[in-house]
């Protein structure tokens, strides 16, 4: 039985971060579309569709919706690094090192989450500069916990896909279904209750729906509406705790699956 240790994680984390920094497209490409959306497209739309006096609320709403796009896109881009590692990089060297294979996934995951956190911060700052107004107070922890758990879950899904799909082409082909389609169903630009009745049930089980409701609860003053659309309860804190538990549950299941698949792939 392989010992389950994480002593190599700092070295693996540093390696992945260095590789990402040396590959600027990994940092910039996922950021381009969301920032463009939050900084240019959203203000333009606001001038047409936001009610008088509601521009700021609209800009804030769209900025957080954009974070719900940025996190999946960035983690999916990070997953490509796993395929590059396998095909042209040092993955085989890592597989014969005296380290647990779970630590390889963990190192990659921590780097992806760090980069995602940086990008979300850039997005929030850019949106605020263009007119969004975020509430920073006691509920900020809900925002951070949600962003973290959702990033972990999405990277674990990316790692799973990278280890199951044979080529970068197949991986890229699967990204829209995993990273973009849920975005339209998860209450990003409109409440989930405005979807057809049967789609609401689907929306309520999507991890993005819960994560996004928490992002809004953490950074906006009236952010409990999205949570209420999921749970229909009265206590915002209870609903937030439930949604966080759901998001964390998804993250744990996906991470365990990613580690098991990687370990299995590492031995023929």
């Amino acid at each position: 039985m392989t010992t389950f240790t994480f002593t190599a994680v700092p070295a693996l984390y540093q390696r992945r971060l260095t590789l990402s920094v040396r590959t600027p497209r990994e940092l910039l490409v996922p950021l381009v579309t969301p920032v463009l959306f939050a900084v240019i497209i959203a203000p333009a739309l606001a001038s047409i569709i936001a009610a008088p006096g509601a521009r700021t609320a609209y800009m804030t709403f769209v900025a957080l919706a954009t974070a719900g796009l940025l996190i999946p896109l960035n983690t999916m881009f990070s997953g490509i690094g796993v395929i590059v590692d396998r095909q042209q990089g040092a993955q085989r060297e890592l597989l014969v090192a005296p380290i647990s294979r779970a630590s390889i996934v963990t190192g990659n995951m921590l780097a992806a989450v760090s980069i995602t956190a940086l990008q979300v911060a850039v997005l929030v700052v850019c949106a605020e500069l263009r007119g969004a107004a975020f509430v920073t107070g006691g509920r900020l922890a809900w925002f951070a916990a949600s962003a973290l758990a959702f990033s972990v879950m999405m990277y674990a899904v990316a790692e799973l896909m990278a280890n199951r799909l044979p080529s970068p082409e197949a991986y890229i082909g699967a990204v829209p279904a995993v990273a973009i389609v849920p975005w339209f169903l998860a209450g990003t630009l409109y409440p989930i209750t405005s979807l057809p009745h049967w789609l609401v049930y689907i929306a309520r089980v999507l991890p993005l729906t819960h994560a996004l409701a928490l992002l809004r609860y953490g950074l906006t003053s009236d952010g409990a509406a999205a949570l209420h659309n999921i749970w229909g309860m009265r206590s915002p804190a209870e609903m937030a705790a439930l949604s966080l538990a759901v998001t964390c549950g998804y993250a744990v299941v996906a991470t365990v699956a990613a580690m098991r698949i990687f370990a299995r792939q590492g031995v023929q």
Binding site: T2, T7, A8, L19, E93, V267
Partner: protein, 331 residues
């Protein structure tokens, strides 16, 4: 390339513990899904400090054997030990005492050579001071010191291979796996690497298991060789003894007629009684002490349809042909 051999290496210490050898393989079998029998029951033992080669053509089972020993391929049955660590029961222990140079480059190309080496030191948990001293000594020995801060993507094929060999030795492994270490490199670089590997082996005392399908590589780098074919070891001995099994000379005859008839005629004159091999229209015959000039006279006397006739010293290719009926490499 000239290499200074000055510093004693920790791996030069004798290994404690291994029952029968530094590398022990006992009846290793690997059958892939779909019933592909890559390795059919291989056993061998490699002593501490020895260099042991697995020689065979592509698909013979060499890389699968190395994969089972370095824990990346799970044996279907059998047992293997590295410095006393069972590769299945204690894979972490087995990985801790070994390093691998893979057939294809396995490096982070965007990173510098130094960053690739430092990662290895951290993963194998080499104490920092020892690691940095070893890094400086080994990279200087193979002429890479001045390239270390360049991205690996800018290295030539030979430089990358040397970097990988140095990397593998940084953790002072007791066992070093070299999986076709010169495959795909040009002749001059290959000969440079022979010198590099030989000098580093002398310097470190590491036990080497090498796979190759190049005969010159096997002769230059291996103390003992196992010839592997169809997942089985068909012969195992020192290169000198394997060659001696064919005597001092072989006769090679290319006939324009029926080779079987020609061989029968030769046997009638006392040539080719033991170990003759026919591949296409070429007959190779160990002379087993008969003077080459006498053998040539006898062939001419038979009035065979001869297109080419020569005598020469035997090569490992002849040994391989005799054992398997296949030609191992073109050159």
């Amino acid at each position: 390339m000239a290499i200074n051999v000055t510093e004693a290496h920790p791996a030069a210490r004798p290994a404690p513990g291994p029952e029968h050898g530094m590398i022990v393989a006992e009846e290793l079998v690997k059958t892939y899904p779909g019933g592909v029998h890559a390795v059919r029951g291989i056993s061998f033992s490699v002593a501490a400090g020895e260099s042991f080669g697995l020689l065979g053509p592509n698909g013979a089972g060499k890389s699968t054997t190395i994969g089972m020993l370095n824990t990346t391929i799970r044996p279907t049955s059998g047992r293997a030990l590295l410095a006393g660590h069972d590769v299945q029961a204690d894979p972490m222990g087995a990985r801790r005492v070994s390093s691998v140079v893979f057939q294809d480059p396995v490096l982070d190309r965007p990173l510098t050579g130094r960053q690739n080496l430092q990662l290895h030191l951290r993963l194998w948990r080499v104490p920092k001071e020892d690691g940095l001293a070893r890094l400086a000594g080994l990279t200087a020995a193979v002429g890479l010191a001045c390239l270390l801060d360049r991205p690996v993507a800018t290295y030539s094929g030979g430089q990358r291979r040397r970097l990988e060999i140095v990397r593998a030795l940084l953790s002072a492994p007791r066992v070093l796996f070299l999986d076709e270490p010169t495959a795909g490199l040009d002749t001059r670089v290959r000969h440079d690497l022979f010198d590099t590997i030989t000098a580093l082996r002398e310097r470190t005392g590491v036990t080497v298991l090498l796979t190759t399908h190049y005969l010159d590589e096997a002769e230059r780098l291996c103390d003992r060789l196992a010839i592997i074919e169809g997942g089985l070891i068909v012969a195992c001995d020192t290169p000198a003894r394997l060659l001696a099994s064919l005597g001092d000379a072989v006769l090679e005859l290319r006939t324009g007629g029926e080779p079987a008839a020609a061989l029968a005629a030769l046997r009638g004159r006392g040539i080719g009684g033991d170990g003759a091999v026919v591949i296409g229209g070429t007959i190779t015959i160990p002379l087993h002490g008969m003077p080459p000039s006498r053998a040539v006279e006898l062939v001419h006397a038979l009035d065979l349809p001869v297109r080419a006739l020569a005598t020469r010293v035997p090569t490992l290719d002849d040994v391989y042909l005799r054992l398997t009926g296949n030609r191992i490499s073109p050159g």
